[in-house]
Symmetry: C2
Subunit: 482 residues, 2 copies
C-alpha cells in the first residue's frame, strides 16, 4: 500500500467525511426508510457504510467525521463499534442535502485544524479496489492541498445514463486536471458522445480543503454558510454525538454540493480514476456489478431456479424463493415483503414505494426489526391481544426504567444473561429462566455480560402499541418518547 | 332446489364418496405434501374438501364416506367438525390410486345397504353451481340405479389439453348416454376436433351402484377386489376412523378407476352437464376460472401493482407483494416460501417441487404449521439453542402426557385457558399466566374451555427436535411416535 510520504508529498493527514443521511428507497424491500441502504450489507458481510469506513482505515487518514441524521444515530454508533472505529458523529436535525452537510463537517474540522483536507465520501457507493481508491486520493492530495476542489472522475466502461459527467480541462498536477464543465445525466447517444470526448463520470466523492470549500460556498450562498457555522459553533455533545444546533441549521438552503459549489467555482478539478465504481442506485446496478452464474443469474440465500436467466434473486431470513421460466427479473424476498420486478425497470422501485407508503403499507417504510441504542427488537407474532417479540440487548446495553398501563409481559432468557428489575427486586436471569412483569410494574432489562442477551418477550393486554410506555430513567437520554 | 322425488324418481338415498388422499404438488407453495390442495381454501373461505362436502348436504344424500390417507386423518376430522358434519372416514394404509379407494367405499357401503348408489367425488374440484351439480346427479340417478356407471361429462368451453375426453353414444335415459369411448388428453388441434364432434370432458366424478362397480372391477381384476373386500371386512375402528386392514389393502393393484373399470366396462355412461367445472390442476387453471380485474389480474391479500397485467398474485400471512412491470406471471407469497413463475408454465410447478425436495428443502413438502389431533402448532422462531412456537389447542383437545430429555419449556397462555399438568401439580392457567416445565418434567396441556386455547411455548435446550418426546399416555392412540 502506498503512503502519502512514499509519494513524496509532505506529511499530511486526510479527514474522511462520510455522508450517510440518505433515505433512498430504490433498494426496497431490503432498504427502507428506517434502515436505508448504506446501513445494510449488500455485497459483503459488512454494510455499505462499514465498507466505506474500512476503505479509509490507514495511517494517512484521521478518524472519520460522520454526518448523519438524528434517526440513524444509534445505527451509526453500533456499526462503528462493530468495527472498533472511533469517529466524530455530527447529527443533522434534518436533512438539507449534501451542501450543508459538507459545510458542517468543514466548519467543525476548521475549528480543530485550519489546514484540514477532507475526503468527502458517500456511504453507499461500491468500490472494491481499496488500494486503487487510496492511490487516487494520494494522486489528488497535492492539488487539493493547494486549493483545488477535486472530484473523483470515473473512467466510464459503458455509456451510462444514470450518472452526471465531468469534462476534464488543462492539467494541474500529475493526473489532476481543471474541470472544464459538469454536465447532467445524458441520454444514451449523448453519453456515447461524451465517452468519445474523454468525459468522466461524476462520482460525487471529493478531496478538498475545508477552508477552500467553505470560502467557495460562501461566495455563492453566504447565508447558508453563516447558518451552518452557527449550528456548528452552538453544537452540543449528547452521549457520543455532536448535535448541530437546530434553528440555524434549518435555515441552510437545501442544495447539493454540486449545485452550491462545484458547478460555480473556478477551483473545480478532477482526478481520473479507473477502479470499478457504482452508486448502487438500484437492483439493476447491483446486478450489473456482481459476478453471475453462467445463466446470468445473481442469487443470494435459498433460491431454486428452472429455466431462468439474467435475473437477480435474493432470499432473506431463511425464506425460499423458486423461480420458473422467467428472464430478466428481480425478486427480493424479505421477511415481510416481496418485490418482483422487470429488471430493466428497477429505477421505478422508488415510485412503487411511494405508492405503497401512500396506501399506508407499514412495510413501505419500516422493517420488523427496530434498532435502539441498547440493541434491537423484532415482532415474531402480533395478534389482537398478545404480541411476541425477540429482544436483543448488546453487552453493556440497558433499557430505560419503564412501565406500561395496558400490558403485562413475560421475559424468557434464551441466550446470555439478564439483570431484570421488577419493582423492588433485581434478579439475575440465566438461559431458560423467566420473569413476569405485571401491568403497571416498574421494570428494566440490562445486559452486564460479554455476549448479546436474547430474550423472548410475550406481551398480553388490551393495547400493545409502542407508545404505551412511561420512561422513568434512561441512560440514552430518551425520557421524552423517541 | 330439486329433490329426487320431485323428479318423479322413487325415493332413493345417494351416498357421497369423497376421495381425498391426493398429495398433488402443482399448487405449491400453498399446497404441500403435508397439507395438499383439497384441505386449503382456494377460492372461498372453505377448503376445497369442505366445499365438496357442502355440495352434497341435502336431504337426498346420506352422510358422506370419506376415503383418505392415515396422514390426513386429523385434518379431515377437524374440517368435518368445523362444518358440523358426521361422516364415515375410511383410512387407506397407503395410497393405491382411485380404483381401490372407490372399491373400498363400495364394499363398505354394500355391507350396510345392498342397493347403495354412490356419488364419487374428487375433493379438489371446483364447481360453484351447487344446484346445477345436484340436478346433474338427479338426472343420472335413474340410469345409475339401473346399472350404468355414469360419469359426469362437462360441456367444454375451450379446447383444453389438460383433460381426458368422453365420446357420448346412444341415449339411455333422459340426457344420459352410453359412452362410445374414453380418449386421453389430446393436443390442441385434436381437442378442437373433439369439441366439434360433441365430446365432453371426463370430470372424474361418477354416479354408480356399489354392487355394479365392484362386479365390473372384479371382472377385470378379481385379485384387487378380493384384497380390498378383505381389507374392509377386517377394518378396525380407531377413534372416529375406520382403518382398512393394511396387509390385504396393500395387495390391491394401484390403478385409476378409469383404467381399472370405466374404459373396460360396457356399462359406462355419461351425463352431459354445463356447469362451470375445473380440476384446479394448477395456478393457471385457478386464474382462468376466477374473476379478474380490468387489467386481467387476480390478487389475494396485500398486493400492490404497477403496470402489471394478466397475472395471479397471492399474498398470505400478512406478507406484502409488490409487482412492477410484469405480465402473465404467477406470484404465490407464503410465510416461508415464494413461487414466481411464467403463468403459461404453471403445469411445471410439480417438477419444481421435485427439484426442491431432492435438494432437501424443508419447504418443498411441509408447512411451518403442523396439524395434530388436538389442534396445531407452528414455529415462530428457531435458533441454535431455543425455539418459539405458537400452540393452538381446540376445545376438548388434550396433548399426550409427555417428557423431554433435552429441553425445558415455558408456556405462556395468550388466549383461552389451560389445564397444565407438571409432575404432581395440575394448574388452571388464565390469559397472561405462565408455567415452567423443567427438563425431564412430566407434563400435559389440555383445553377444557369453549374457545381455542393459544399458548406461546419457549423451548431452551441443547436439542430441540420433535423426536425428543416420550409419550406416557395419549387419548389419540399415539403412544408410538406418529
Amino acid at each position: 500500500m502506498l503512503d502519502v510520504n512514499e509519494r513524496g508529498l509532505r506529511s499530511m493527514t486526510i479527514h474522511p467525511v462520510i455522508l450517510c443521511g440518505g433515505k433512498g428507497s430504490r433498494l426496497w424491500p431490503l432498504s427502507r426508510q428506517s434502515m436505508p441502504k448504506q446501513f445494510i450489507p449488500l455485497w459483503s458481510d459488512k454494510t455499505c457504510f462499514q465498507e466505506t469506513v474500512t476503505r479509509v482505515r490507514d495511517s494517512a487518514f484521521a478518524d472519520p467525521v460522520i454526518v448523519t441524521s438524528h434517526d440513524y444515530r444509534f445505527i451509526v454508533g453500533q456499526q462503528l463499534s462493530e468495527l472498533g472505529v472511533s469517529a466524530t458523529i455530527l447529527l443533522e436535525p434534518e436533512g438539507r442535502n449534501s451542501g450543508p452537510a459538507i459545510a458542517a463537517a468543514a466548519a467543525w474540522l476548521l475549528e480543530r485544524d485550519p489546514d484540514s483536507v477532507m475526503a468527502v465520501l458517500a456511504a453507499d457507493h461500491r468500490i472494491d479496489d481499496h488500494d486503487g481508491f487510496r492511490q487516487a486520493i494520494f494522486a489528488a492530495a497535492g492539488a487539493a492541498e493547494s486549493g483545488s476542489l477535486v472530484v473523483f472522475g470515473i473512467k466510464p466502461d459503458a455509456p451510462a445514463t444514470g450518472y452526471g459527467y465531468v469534462k476534464p480541462g488543462d492539467p494541474i498536477d500529475g493526473t489532476v486536471c481543471h474541470v472544464e464543465s459538469f454536465v447532467e445525466k445524458p441520454d444514451r447517444k449523448t453519453a456515447s458522445d461524451y465517452i468519445q470526448k474523454g468525459y468522466l463520470w461524476n462520482s460525487g466523492n471529493f478531496l478538498l480543503r475545508a477552508d477552500t470549500v467553505l470560502d467557495e460556498y460562501r461566495a455563492s450562498d453566504p447565508q447558508t454558510v453563516a447558518a451552518v457555522e452557527e449550528a456548528v459553533r452552538l453544537a452540543e455533545n449528547d452521549l457520543d454525538f455532536t448535535v448541530l444546533q437546530s434553528d440555524p441549521y434549518c435555515r441552510a438552503k437545501p442544495q447539493s454540493i454540486d449545485y452550491a459549489v462545484m458547478e460555480k467555482t473556478r477551483a473545480a478539478a478532477v482526478v481520473p480514476v479507473s477502479y470499478a465504481w457504482s452508486d448502487v442506485g438500484n437492483w439493476q446496478t447491483l446486478w450489473e456489478l456482481s459476478d453471475k452464474s453462467e445463466a446470468g443469474n445473481l442469487t443470494r440465500g435459498p433460491v431454486d431456479l428452472i429455466d431462468t436467466h439474467n435475473s437477480y434473486i435474493d432470499s432473506h431470513a431463511d425464506r425460499l424463493t423458486a423461480v420458473l421460466g422467467l428472464d430478466d427479473i428481480v425478486v427480493i424476498n424479505t421477511q415481510d415483503a416481496v418485490l418482483v420486478a422487470d429488471r430493466s425497470r428497477a429505477n421505478e422501485v422508488g415510485d412503487m414505494v411511494k405508492l405503497m407508503a401512500a396506501s399506508g403499507r407499514e412495510q413501505a417504510l419500516n422493517h420488523r426489526r427496530f434498532d435502539r441504542p441498547w440493541g434491537w427488537y423484532e415482532t415474531l407474532d402480533l395478534a389482537d391481544r398478545y404480541q411476541v417479540k425477540r429482544v436483543v440487548v448488546y453487552p453493556g446495553g440497558r433499557l430505560s426504567l419503564q412501565k406500561h398501563f395496558h400490558r403485562s409481559e413475560h421475559w424468557v432468557v434464551v441466550r446470555g444473561s439478564a439483570i431484570a428489575t421488577v419493582d423492588d427486586t433485581v434478579k439475575l436471569l440465566r438461559e431458560g429462566e423467566s420473569i413476569y412483569i405485571p401491568l403497571g410494574g416498574i421494570h428494566r432489562l440490562e445486559n452486564q455480560g460479554k455476549i448479546d442477551l436474547e430474550i423472548i418477550e410475550v406481551q398480553t393486554g388490551s393495547y400493545l402499541g409502542e407508545d404505551d410506555i412511561v420512561r422513568l430513567d434512561d441512560v440514552y437520554g430518551r425520557i421524552k418518547p423517541s
